[in-house]
Amino acid sequence: MSETDAAVVVLDGTEAAVYAYGLVAARLPVGSERSSALSAMAWHRSQRDSLRARITALGATPPAAAAAYTPPFPVTDAASARRLAALVEDRLAGQWAGLAAATSGATRTQDARTAQACAVRVVTWSGLAPVWNGAT
């Protein structure tokens, strides 16, 4: 996969994560967990902006975000909100690993670190550490 194609995949996953964190924050009680969700949303927004710039720099046009993303299960309470947050972070960790593989040098190292940041948030939300991020 080319770097551009891999970046588009990560961008789509990141847009989905931003949307998902809106749902997640709405279902979490006011306090540290909601603050963590909002911080994660802001972090992914920043990554999204960087990805769009990166795709443009690679000579492609970044695709627009979807109007809405359908969660794979109903998000009705705090437990399902945490599960959704863990799922999107796990997928994104795998996608960032794919992007890292499509690059080289310092860019790959940085993408790998970004993947790790997502993987750590999987633990934050689920308490679990998948063996292979993005495999589920």
């Binding site: 790998a112 790790q116 750590v120 991020n133």
Partner: protein, 184 residues
Amino acid sequence: MPIDLSRRDVLRLGLVVSAGAGLAACTTASSSGTPTQTDPGGPEDPDRALRAEVGADEARLTALYAAAETVLTGTSATRTASLGERHATYRAAVDPASASAAPNGSGSPSTSQVGSGSPSASATVPAVTAATALKVLVAAEASAATARATQSARATDPELARVIVLAGTGAAAAAAALSAARAR
């Protein structure tokens, strides 16, 4: 979470890992080998040294977990064991020939290594506590995560790079999970 990892803590687990350097130090030491028989791509594989290096790192982590498990009990032991098993999986994915040739061997500290740099340590240091074991594991996983991000950049094969990156995400996640366990 800051890690205050002393040399004595590491020695208590019976491993020669210098304080502060952790697995990264082992990475440098292991990269000089020429594991011709363990390379999936054979002598022409440009990534063979990297495969061996990462594989040796993962073997050391397996050995470190094995040492830690001797002092952990109950839920902590079960959880830690499952995290430790992952390193054999990563090793097999990165360096399958080496993993099958020496599933538990390389990376395990020998008795003579335990006291290196501190001859009296193995005889005088009291038994390690569970808290110390967890602290050492957190530091080792965090160090491995840092190392994998850097090592991935040296891979010629994109798939190998992806696997090394994912081994790094696994290490970062394990460090977070173990830190949470320490906090409980």
